[in-house]
């Protein structure tokens, strides 16, 4: 009987733990959010058939995610059963379940972001198809990018770079002109940098420099690009970048850092 209860508790835990850092209340809220979003998707799917293939492929991705989630859930149930068998090491198993839950919750987070993105795209299309009257309503709808950016940025802050890369990419694809556009582009580069994917990082920083030449992340994009180039031993290019930084942003704190680097590289 007690074992059954433990199983129930664990299943319960599995269900409500998708956000390891969140409170129970937040989780419940999140669940209702997900349910709402799923409802919306169901309605919108009717329109999807008539619409373009891009959306279908996005939805397929979504299904894949959900399937992955289900697999993860099955694994967890199995793990839970195994744990039940050895009640002496129950604590340790709970911890490993927790870890798997983190992975699962990460996937769910990702799914949520994608659901939001899909949702947004569908809405955009509908607005186009309907009439120009609705254009007014879509103006100023920037609460949502705000929330998505904020959640993704938190993944970045907590060192969940893989997750943050997905988030920033989605964000840039959907809201390139939001006030956080240059930030997202820069932090995407920094995620790659912290993951050691230096070529991608350089590309991303160049994008910041080219797309947002007057943004507040431009100087630091130069600096981080030079850092990545130094890691790759492409010193000539690094020096060039550092010099450009010094020249274009002489008053940025990164100019001082560039100076230190140039001295280290034996240039000045």
């Amino acid at each position: 009987m007690r074992q059954l209860f433990t199983l129930l508790t664990l299943c319960f835990t599995v269900l409500i733990l998708p956000l390891s850092a969140g409170t129970k209340e937040e989780i419940i809220r999140l669940q209702s959010d997900i349910l709402q979003l799923q409802d919306q998707i169901r309605v919108l799917q009717k329109n999807v058939d008539e619409k373009n293939g891009m959306i279908i492929s996005l939805l397929e991705q979504l299904n894949d995610q959900a399937a992955e989630g289900n697999v993860g859930f099955q694994e967890l149930v199995t793990a839970t059963n195994a744990a039940k068998a050895q009640s002496s090491s129950l604590d340790r198993t709970v911890q490993s379940v927790q870890e798997e839950l983190r992975v699962l919750s990460a996937k769910l987070d990702e799914t949520n972001t994608r659901v939001a993105a899909v949702h947004r795209k569908l809405e955009e299309n509908q607005v186009q198809i309907q009439s120009l009257r609705t254009v007014e309503q879509s103006v100023g709808d920037d609460i949502e990018p705000d929330r998505i950016y904020s959640a993704t940025f938190n993944d970045y802050l907590m060192g969940n770079y893989a997750l943050a890369v997905n988030g920033f990419q989605d964000f840039l694809a959907n809201f390139p002109d939001s006030e956080y556009g240059d930030n997202a582009a820069y932090y995407l580069g920094d995620c790659y940098f912290k993951q050691g994917r230096l070529d991608l990082a350089i590309q991303a920083f160049e994008q910041v420099i080219n797309l947002y030449p007057k943004g507040d992340k431009t100087a630091v994009a130069y600096y981080k690009k030079a850092q990545a180039l130094q890691e790759l031993q492409r010193l000539e290019q690094a020096i060039e970048t550092l010099k450009a930084l010094k020249q274009l942003f002489p008053n940025a704190p990164e100019a001082q850092l560039a100076n230190d680097d140039l001295i280290k590289l034996g240039v000045e």
Binding site: M1, R2, F5, T9, F12, T13, I16, L17, S20, A21, G22, T23, K24, E25, E26, I27, I28, R29, V94, Q95, Q98, E99, L101, R102, D146, Y149, S150, F153, N154, L157, M158, G159, Y186, D190, K194, D216, K217, V220, Y223, K224, P253, E254, Q256, L257
Partner: protein
């Protein structure tokens, strides 16, 4: 019309902080878990020793669970009268009355014998009548009874919050305390009990912070016979070691999770405070802010990749954020007035700080969301409220306040509710709530 309204708002708003209600963001509030905590009873015989231990245990357990902010605790006056000792004593029907309407019931027994004290503690799900927790704690000495209550409270929080928090009942707070002539570093339980003096140099000791393993404190001190501020590392159970700095000024040190120490100091020739970082293994510290103005009060992001700090480079002291190499600098709070004591939340999302509005002299506690710079006010009204510090689970905040007269340490929920004063004697300031020890950190 709308334009006029806008202008009016701007005029009103420009002098004040555009703070939002923290509830909606930090603590969305669906139904909380309802928990009854029946008084623990003597297991066999009610000796005076057992009764004394029981009184302490029951009070501490109730206080811990109340403060945890996870539960609604119905008044004890609605409880059935029959004392509970073992699960066999529970008549569930009596606990399922509408006046109580509880989800869970905690109860148990304490027995103090000549050589050993035994606490048996249970939590039952009242609806399914299943046991959720059953624990037996054996201690040699009743002085540890508070510890057992804390241990059990954390267990209850952990189980009934489905792992959302490990609880803070076992956690400790370091602080700076003026008793008599000297201001020394002390450590106490989070609820103010078991205060213990750490430094004994007779000087002014300030700004303690914990290492990630809870074994070490870092703080600054002005010793009576030494005419400069010194930076000390201090094993909680050992002796202090000085870390050399380059001037007579050093302040507000902070440990990164990996052992790096950030602090505010200056070089002999520079005139103003900068942020320095000492490498984890020791060695010379590196100056990472070279700008004009005072830079102080560094606080690390959870991963140690970023630092929030205070700088007055553009006028008054404001909250700034940068990468730990000094790049990617940006101002997080741009409200004017004076900000200080930033503390980065364990979940990375917020920076807590104190703010003094322009032309005011009292400070209050605020939160800034790092991604967006959104601000939330947590305290208001009474006294000056400063030096905020997160609890390890990020659900509570410790700070110093003069609301009852002298500077004392208070704790509260991260939404500003559930305020509790935890020091009374002397002048007490700069609380530093110990982080969860890495090895025990779940899912890390």
């Amino acid at each position: 019309m709308k334009a006029k309204f806008l202008i009016l708002l701007i005029l009103l708003g420009s002098g004040f902080l555009q703070a939002q209600d923290p509830d909606a963001v930090i603590f969305p509030k669906p139904t909380p878990t309802r928990l009854a905590v029946a008084d623990f009873t003597p297991k066999t015989s009610s000796t005076p020793d057992t009764q004394t231990a029981l009184n302490v245990f029951n009070q501490v357990l109730l206080d811990d669970l109340k403060f945890s902010a996870f539960f609604e605790l119905p008044s004890k006056s609605f409880y059935p009268l029959k004392p509970l000792r073992t699960p066999q004593d529970v008549i569930f029907e009596n606990w399922q009355v509408p006046t109580l309407d509880i989800d869970f019931l905690a109860f148990g027994s304490v027995q103090v014998d000549a050589t050993v004290t035994v606490v048996e503690a249970y939590v039952y799900d009242v609806k399914t009548r299943q046991q959720v927790i059953g624990k037996r704690y054996t201690i040699g000495d009743t002085t540890l009874i508070r510890r057992v209550a804390h241990e059990f409270a954390d267990q209850v929080v952990y189980e009934l919050s489905a792992g959302a928090s490990q609880g803070v009942a076992k956690s400790r707070i370091a602080f700076s305390s003026l008793k008599g002539d000297s201001k020394e570093i002390w450590v106490m339980d989070y609820d103010g009990a078991n205060g213990r003096q750490i430094s004994f140099n007779g000087g002014i000791n300030k700004f303690p912070e914990w290492s990630a393993d809870n074994q070490m404190l870092v703080y600054v001190a002005k010793l009576p016979t030494v005419n400069r501020w010194q930076l000390f590392l201090h094993e909680v159970d050992g002796r202090p070691t000085e870390i050399e700095v380059t001037s007579s000024y050093v302040s507000s040190p902070a440990f990164a999770r990996d052992g790096r120490v950030a602090f505010s100091s200056r070089t002999q020739s520079s005139r103003e405070a900068d942020i320095f970082i000492r490498p984890a293994g020791g060695g010379p510290a590196r100056n990472i802010t070279n700008a004009r103005g005072i830079d102080t009060s560094p606080s690390w992001s959870p991963t140690g990749a970023q630092i929030a700090f205070i700088s007055d480079r553009t006028g008054g002291p404001q909250v700034w954020v940068m990468d730990a190499d000094g790049s990617n600098l940006r101002q997080l709070v741009t409200e004017g007035g004076h900000c200080d004591s930033p503390d980065w939340s364990p979940d990375g999302r917020f920076v807590l700080y104190s703010w003094q509005a322009p032309r005011q002299w009292k400070h209050d506690i605020y939160l800034a969301e790092v991604a967006t710079g959104k601000l939330f006010q947590l305290t208001s009204g009474f006294g000056t409220n400063e030096s905020p510090h997160w609890s390890p689970d990020g659900r509570h905040i410790a700070f110093q306040s003069t609301r009852t007269g002298t500077k004392q340490i208070f704790i509260m929920n991260a939404d500003g509710r559930n305020l509790k004063q935890v020091t009374t004697y002397g002048i007490n300031e700069s609380p530093a709530w110990a982080p969860y020890v890495e090895a025990n950190r779940l899912g890390q």
